[in-house]
Assembly symmetry: C2
Homo-oligomer: 277 residues x 2
Amino acid sequence: MFDSGVGGLTVLRALIERIPGANYLYFGDTARLPYGSKSAATVAHYAVDAVRYLQDQGAELLVIACNTATALALDEIKRAASVPVIGVIEPGADAAAKASKKKHAVVIGTEATVASHAYRRALETRNVRVREKACPLFVPLVEEGWIEHPVTEQVAKIYLAEAFASDFGSPEVRHPDDAGAADVLLLGCTHYPLIKPLLRRVAPAHITIVDSAESTAEEVARQLKLMPRPRSDNSDEIAAPPQLKFFATDSAEKFRKMGTRFLGLPVENVVHVDLKE
Amino acid sequence: MFDSGVGGLTVLRALIERIPGANYLYFGDTARLPYGSKSAATVAHYAVDAVRYLQDQGAELLVIACNTATALALDEIKRAASVPVIGVIEPGADAAAKASKKKHAVVIGTEATVASHAYRRALETRNVRVREKACPLFVPLVEEGWIEHPVTEQVAKIYLAEAFASDFGSPEVRHPDDAGAADVLLLGCTHYPLIKPLLRRVAPAHITIVDSAESTAEEVARQLKLMPRPRSDNSDEIAAPPQLKFFATDSAEKFRKMGTRFLGLPVENVVHVDLKE
C-alpha cells in the first residue's frame, strides 16, 4: 500500500478489519508530501519510485491509497508495475454511483484531485452528475489534531455550503452541475474519514456520505480473496494478527506518532527509506 | 534567494524596496515543500541541492529566505556554499532583541522551526527570554487566500492566546519561559507577513510585532551595498528596475499564480527545474 503520507492508513485500517491475517507493507512518501498541491508529472515520478520499491520488497498487489496519486498517475503506475494495481478512485466512484438514487454526487478532495477531474470522469461513466469541491484546509486541520473542533466545523460549514449551493457560479444561471439535487457526498481524500462524524453533522441531512477509503478496502479484500495462497498457508495463519511493516521517506519517529492516530493501532516497525535517484 | 516555496518572496519584496536595481535569482523548491514538517536531514539535503543550483547560475550572495531551512540546515548550507550566506534567523533575532525593552519575546513559526529552537538559541545569546509556539495552520490558511477571514482570525486567537498565556503548562507553576512579560512577537515564518494586519489586531496591544522578512531584507541590503560592483556598473543601472528570474521545482504556472500574491509584483520569467540526483 502506497500513500504520500499517513492518510492511506485509513484505507489500511479498513482493510485490516476485513482481512486481518495478511502481510501488509505500507509506504508513506513523507519526505515529499503533500502531493495535493503538486503537478501531475511530479506526482507520477514520485509514485512510480515508491511502487517500484514496494515491488522490490515483495509486494504482490499494489494499493494506491492516495487520491492524488491515483487521480494523476494511476496509468503510469500500472505501466511501471508488474503486479495488479488498485487505486482509490474507481472503488469510490462505484460506491457513490450505487448509493446515489438521484444520480448526482458532490466530491470533495485536495486541489490536485479536484483539478484532475478523475472522480468526475469516473462518475460520469456511471451516469452520475458531479460537482467537485477542493477543501485544502481539511488535511492540515486533521494533522493538527483538530478532529472535533469549532474551527474545523466552521471550515466544513463554509466548504460544504459552497459545495451544496444550488448555484455554483452566477445566481442567474442554473448550472448543469447544479448540486441542489445531489444526494451523495463522496470523501475523495484519505484524511477525511477522521472527520466523518463532523462532516455528517454539517452536511445536509438527506445526504449519504460515501468514503473512498472504505470502498477501496472492500475492493482490495475481494481481490485478496481471489489470489492464490502460498502452499504453507493454513487457517491458523489466516486467523493470525496482521504482519505490518512501514516505510517512510521522512523521519520514522514522526511517522510512528502521527500514523497511530490514522491506523487506530500502534504503528511500529517503521523503516526510514531514502529515495534519491 | 532560496525558499521551499513562495513564502520567501515576502523577503524578496522587502529587499526590492531597498535595492531595486539588483539582479535577483529566486529558487522555490515547490516540488518538495513544505519543509516545515520534515526532518533536519531531509531539509538539509534539499536546501544544499538548491543553493548549489543557484551558485551554478552565478549567485554571488545567498539568502536562505526560509525559516525552516535556516533553522535546520544553515551550517550545512554554509559548508556547501562558496559565497556568503545569510539566513533569516539571526537578522530576526537581532531586530527582536532591539525591539524588546523587557528582553522577553514570543516566537511563532512552523513546527520544524519551533522544534529546532534556533530562534530560542539566537535570542538567548542576546539575553532575551523566549517562548516558542508552532502555528501549523497559518501557512495553509494564507495559501488558501484567507488573509482577512474570520476562520484565520479565530485560529490566530487560539494560537496567540496560548502563546501569551501567563501559564504555558500547569496553571500552578509560573514557568521560567513565562510570556506574561513578553513585549515582542517575532514572526518566524515568511508566510506570516501576509497576515500581519490580522495578527496586529489579535495580539495584545502592548506587543511590538517584528517581522523576520523585513529584518533579513535590511541585513541583505546592507551587505549588497558593501559588495564590489561590476566595472560596467553606473548609477543609471542602479536605478533600473530589478532583474528577476525565478526557478521552481514544481509547475512554473502554479508558482506564477501563487507567487504574485506574495511578491506584490507580477511574477514572470519562471523556469521549471528538475532536481533529481
